[in-house]
């Protein structure tokens, strides 16, 4: 008879097993519902992940072969005339030579679709070439790639393309191209380097803008300095509020606004990243001011130092190293952001990257992507080393 009573006494002190387990089951059900809903609205499709993979392979391949270096080209060209259809006079065949390049056709006139063999002599050995058909009017047509053999000879079988009848001469053009000299940076590399410098400078300017505005504002956003009077407390809340609002708006959105305001380009990017940096740095700085140790300040005052001396010897050493560390950290973030701020009109390397991507020029885009990877990685490393040294 005693046992149930004792148990009832114990119960209030412990979590109620049954109820809490029902709550737990309920929470799991709600959780499953939320995830099921999420799965649906985000249109997750694992099948697509597999079936779509081949589409991306050629993009990745091209990105992995960035158009980094180039070499000067030299070429050899030779021509032969052809008539479609045959006329009263057959075109003259090219002159045979011991040393000069020349082409020999199986016949010099015919109908569209007829087979035609083209032979070449005295070309550069083992070199890639291209055979093109040059109609009297209209554009050239590339017909076939080929390689010359070790003697500089090649023989090709083609079909006369559908060029329409004409009394004027058609032309068969053969061009062999090869690289000469040492590799040197391509035009793409030059553009990327130039834009990368602009990007890093963009980040520097934005960070500088952020620092100059955030340093004075950080004091207004420090509770320990502003809590003395009601008026200063209002300023504190206002500054904090503005920081929070500005910080919660992503730099991309600022970039869209400023791209309209000052036009698309790096300046819009500077303003967009600068705006975000002011708020982000202002908050970090003000927290640093709030965590100042009053002890050393008291000690410096006790030596008979005046206010200026107290600030220089008691306050500055406490806040400058963390300020510098936060600033470098911010520059690091800004470099990373500035590489993509161009997507929305903020200038820098992102601007040309998105253009190349839209033009499907992935080999050029690859150079930009690799440049971003390297610069971000280096900045990340440098900033962590410097920050460790300072703090």
């Amino acid at each position: 008879m005693n046992a149930p009573e004792e148990r009832r006494k114990e119960i209030p002190g412990r979590p109620r097993g049954l109820l809490s387990s029902w709550r737990f089951v309920g929470a799991i059900v709600v959780g499953i519902l939320i995830y099921a809903f999420g799965w649906r609205v985000t249109e997750i499709n694992l099948q697509k992940l597999v079936t779509g993979a081949p589409d991306v392979v050629h993009i990745v391949k091209q990105l992995m072969q960035p158009d980094l270096l180039t070499r000067d080209k030299e070429y050899q060209r030779a021509y032969a005339d052809f008539l479609v259809p045959c006329g009263p006079v057959a075109p003259r065949q090219p002159a045979v030579s011991e040393t000069e390049t020349y082409l020999v056709l199986s016949h010099a006139c015919g109908e569209s679709g007829e087979p035609l063999s083209v032979e070449g002599f005295n070309f550069r050995p083992s070199t890639r070439g291209l055979l093109r058909w040059v109609p009297p009017t209209g554009t050239k047509r590339s017909l076939q790639y080929f390689d010359s053999d070790a003697e500089g000879h090649f023989a090709l079988g083609i079909a006369v393309p559908d060029v329409g009848a004409s009394e004027e001469l058609q032309q068969i053009e053969v061009e062999l191209r090869w690289d000469v000299g040492l590799p040197y940076p391509s035009e793409t590399t030059r553009i990327v380097a130039e834009k990368m410098v602009q990007t890093i400078m963009l980040a520097l300017m934005a960070t500088t803008l952020g620092v100059f505005a955030a340093v004075p504002l950080s004091f207004l956003a420090a509770r320990n300095l502003m809590s003395k009077y009601r008026g200063t407390m209002i300023i504190y809340f206002l500054t904090r509020g503005v920081f929070n609002v500005v910080r919660s708006i992503e730099p991309y959105i600022w970039a869209i606004i400023f791209a309209v305001w000052v036009g698309i380009g790096a300046f819009a990017g500077v303003l967009a990243l600068g705006m975000h940096s002011i708020a982000a740095l202002g908050k970090l700085y003000s927290e640093q001011v709030e965590s100042i140790d009053p002890g050393p300040i008291e000690a410096i005052q006790a030596t008979g130092a005046n206010t200026l001396q107290t600030i220089i010897y008691g306050v500055v050493p406490q806040i400058v190293p963390p300020y510098v560390a936060f600033t470098i950290y911010r520059w690091d973030i800004n470099v990373r952001m500035s590489t993509v701020i161009g997507f929305v009109g903020g200038g820098g390397i992102g601007f040309i990257l998105i253009q190349w991507v839209n033009l499907l020029r992935y080999k050029q885009a690859g150079v930009a992507v690799w440049a971003i990877v390297i610069v971000v990685w280096v900045m990340d490393y440098v900033s962590s080393v410097v920050r460790e040294k300072i703090v």
């Binding site: 050393p296 000690a299 005052q301 006790a302 030596t303 200026l308 001396q309 010897y313 008691g314």
Partner: protein
């Protein structure tokens, strides 16, 4: 000579920290203030160099009413009063040498010190102060790299830079182990005995007070409850100062 008359301090919020405290300190004394935490020891010491503004009362030092001073005059008085703190209060990220030199700020021109240029003789003085407290080899280290005892020695060196006539020491050994505590108090004793610096030092432990004080003042709830020689504090007095439940702890 330091004379304190009817000193009262009421903090914002109404806490009564000192109630009409009157006492005097002769030149060359090693006066120890004892009492529980919250008894007003720190407030009393900080009122003397006006780190805390007293609410009422007067502090007269060498015939000058310190309570009435402002700006330049106050700073001239402060530069002769060295202060040592429980938490050492060094600028942690600055070098030991810079911390010691900052003790000279009351003497050098503000513009020179703003640029970090101290006169050569001040740098030499800092070196000799560090030598005196035995940590010259640490001069170029950052202050927070030092151990507690070493940091407090930096604190003493900083006070020495002021050519002090009076040293206020607020619980100088409360953050240190017993052996280090003795070494720090021995430096203060040496300053007191050899250089004739008046020392006003608050301590938790009666045993330490007995070992170093020439005279003891006890505070309880902001009032002076005892003034006299160390030998005059018997068990009854001890319970009066520290409360009925207190037990004496010996620090050797």
């Amino acid at each position: 000579m330091l004379e304190i008359q009817n000193l009262t301090k009421i903090y914002e919020g109404g806490t009564l920290a000192l109630k009409k405290v009157s006492m005097s300190v002769e030149d060359g004394e090693f006066l120890v203030i004892i009492g529980l935490s919250g008894s007003g020891k720190s407030t009393l010491l900080r009122c003397i160099n006006r780190l805390i503004e007293p609410t009422e009362g007067r502090i007269i030092w060498d015939g000058v009413d310190v309570t009435g001073l402002k700006g330049e005059e106050l700073r001239k008085v402060r530069r002769h009063i060295g202060m040592i703190f429980q938490q050492f209060n060094l600028v942690k990220r600055s070098s030991v040498l810079t911390n010691v030199l900052s003790g000279r700020l009351g003497y050098v021109s503000p513009w020179r010190s703003a640029l970090g240029r101290f006169p050569k003789k001040d740098v030499e003085k800092a070196v000799s102060c560090l030598e005196r407290v035995g940590i010259l080899d640490q001069a170029n280290k950052r202050a927070d790299e030092l151990s507690g005892g070493q940091q407090q020695r930096v604190g003493i060196a900083r006070a020495l830079m002021q050519d002090p006539k009076l040293i206020l020491a607020d619980e100088p050994v409360a953050s240190l182990d017993p052996a280090t505590s003795h070494s720090i108090l021995k430096y203060l004793e040496e300053l007191n005995r050899d250089d004739g610096v008046t020392v006003l030092c608050s301590l938790h432990f009666l045993s330490l007070a007995r070992a170093y004080a020439t005279r003891i003042i006890a505070l309880k709830d902001g009032e002076v409850v005892f003034t006299g020689l160390p030998s005059q504090i018997d068990d009854a007095r001890f319970r009066e100062i520290y409360g009925e439940d207190a037990i004496q702890v010996e620090i050797r």
